[in-house]
């Protein structure tokens, strides 16, 4: 890379997760977006949300299953049971309730988890089953007509927690760099950035001085604590933000990290970006390590 941004000789530590993809469609993009945003709300981190979810991409009339506009959504969780529970609850409360929507499976897997399998009972006996090809669908009568949902969706192994940490001189340039990076990977398939706008400002470390907490602020990267704790920040750094990337495969995360780093290096504000680093737990917790220097080669 020709840019002057320093790339830390470190790695991002990521974990094995379980993932699923669902496709939400509606009469128009506005209502599909309402449903998708509602479903992926409060799904930033498995620490307290149970699932990490995000909009993967837009679906056009040609690519959606029913010829309407929609969104593809990816959900990641640490266990099958958590994914199953969260998916059912979120589809029931956010998609079923949203006008004109329908929901379909977006991925095939050896292991299938319920999508509309239990939601069908909302039809109170008036639900209609339709098996077309190898798939079963449920038509549930609702007040705007009918809610169409696929019975189950695939569950596949995935990776969560790929990340880059951006160390900048000030908050404006740090945020701008993050926005540029997120825009560059916005349309990349098989990855999501589950945090608000794709960016985290409260990166965490494992453990806390308080026994009841399993995670606490990542003090090594807090600019206000630079002289108080063993900090990783230089004197120039005034703001740090993190982009967390979940993907279906290792390659997907690597491509996304590379694209994001390159986008930041090319951006106008690159002069105000000090370093790009990555978050890890010493390599002891996660099953996957993404070395920044290897990725950008």
């Amino acid at each position: 890379m020709k840019s002057k941004i320093k790339i830390d000789n470190t790695f991002a530590e990521a974990f094995n997760m379980k993932a699923s993809r669902i496709l939400v469609t509606a009469d128009n993009l506005k209502w599909a977006k309402h449903a998708a945003i509602s479903l992926t709300g409060f799904a930033t981190s498995v620490i307290a949300c149970g699932v990490e979810a995000g909009i993967e991409c837009k679906l056009s009339k040609k690519t959606s299953p029913d010829g309407r506009d929609g969104y593809s959504i990816l959900l990641f969780s640490m266990s099958r049971s958590a994914l199953e529970k969260q998916l059912e609850t979120r589809v029931g409360q956010c998609i079923l309730t949203c006008p004109t929507t329908a929901v379909f499976s977006g991925i095939e897997g050896d292991d299938m988890i319920p999508l509309g399998k239990n939601l069908r009972y909302f039809g109170d006996g008036h639900q209609i089953s339709k098996k077309i090809g190898q798939k079963r669908f449920w038509r549930i009568p609702v007040m705007d007509g009918e809610f169409l949902c696929e019975e189950s969706t695939g569950r596949i192994p995935a990776i969560g927690g790929g990340n880059i940490i951006i160390l900048a001189h000030d908050r404006i340039s740090c945020l701008k760099a993050c926005e540029t990076a997120i825009e560059s990977i916005e349309n990349q398939p098989n990855v999501i950035t589950p945090f608000p706008g794709g960016v985290v400002r409260s990166g965490s470390k494992v453990g806390s001085k308080y026994k009841s907490l399993i995670a606490s602020t990542n003090d090594e990267f807090c600019p206000t604590l630079r002289d108080i704790v063993k900090s990783k920040l230089s004197k120039k750094v005034g703001c740090v933000m993190e982009i967390v990337i979940n993907g279906l495969t290792r390659d997907d995360i690597e491509i996304a990290m590379r694209t994001a780093i390159k986008a930041i290096a090319k951006a106008n504000i690159s002069a105000k970006i000090d370093t790009i680093s990555a978050g890890n737990y010493g390599g002891k917790l996660g099953q996957h390590k993404f070395y920044l220097k290897k990725i950008i080669k």
Binding site: D66, R68, K131, I132, G133, G145
Partner: protein, 265 residues
């Protein structure tokens, strides 16, 4: 690899049972040549009756077929079978998977007892389409059957699930005792249509049948555009299209849970 191609060497005088075609997929081309089948009262080898070429047994082609060939595609499980010409009785019966395409007409009992796969007949078929097989009390149990021409009498009996599309007309006593499933008929309906049915979705163009039903409220049905797109994708053809439709349900005289979509093409 070139598809395994069979072409008759002789004009058949006797009926030929080709149900063994479904087991060709697990055999080498040398073994296929020596495989025997009954022709009249004689046991003959495949290579005596057919000119055999190609090695890809997952993709089988039969050329110049005729209506003396029975059980074409019977018990078909996977892969594809393409037949150029007419076929005899029981074509695609008891299929469980794969794709069978016939470029011609078929005789009676097409797709009887089918429980999976895609059967496409680019012509007409005889009586008892998707009927009950010999040992079962159910007709089509699953799968997609597409008839581009007409179907004869007693079509689609005791259907359990799956989708049957007839682009032409159907004969009398069709769709009797349907338990569930989706039937699409874009031609005329014969007498005594859909007698003693329990549930099921009928998509038809013939409005006469709708007089027995109550018209449903006008509302949007997400299912219909989805079904059209999904079927067109599955069949890789624009098999179904419509401009508008009306839904009917609640049969006026008989207590059943069937629904009816009358489409305007």
């Amino acid at each position: 690899m070139k598809p395994l191609t069979l072409q008759p060497k002789i004009k058949f005088k006797f009926r030929l049972d080709l149900s063994s075609i479904s087991i060709l997929q697990s055999m080498s081309s040398n073994k296929i040549k020596t495989l025997t089948l009954m022709y009249g009262n004689k046991q003959m080898r495949y290579c005596d009756l057919f000119k055999i070429s190609g090695t890809d047994s997952s993709n089988i082609i039969i050329k110049s077929s005729n209506e003396m060939m029975d059980n074409v595609g019977k018990n078909f499980v996977r892969g594809s079978l393409t037949v150029y010409g007419n076929v005899g009785h029981c074509c695609g019966s008891e299929m469980t998977g794969g794709e069978v395409t016939i470029y011609g007409n078929a005789l009676n009992r097409v797709a009887s007892g089918i429980s999976g796969g895609l059967l496409r007949i680019n012509g007409s078929c005889g009586d008892y389409l998707c009927g009950k097989s010999n040992h079962k009390n159910e007709g089509i149990n699953d799968g997609l059957v597409i008839i581009k021409g007409n179907a004869g009498d007693y079509a689609i009996q005791r259907m359990r699930r799956g989708v049957v599309i007839v682009k032409g007309n159907v004969g009398k006593n069709s769709c009797t005792e349907i338990i569930s499933g989706t039937v699409i008929i874009t031609g005329n309906l014969g007498k005594n249509f859909a007698n003693k049915i329990k549930r099921g979705t009928f998509i038809i163009t013939d409005k006469k049948f709708a007089k027995n039903y109550t018209k449903s409220n006008l509302c949007e049905y997400n299912f219909m555009p989805f079904l059209v797109k999904h079927l067109n994708q599955l069949s890789q053809d624009k098999i179904l299209s419509f401009k508008s439709f009306e839904r009917f349900c609640n049969h006026k005289t008989v207590d059943n849970l069937s629904e009816l979509f009358v489409i305007r093409q």
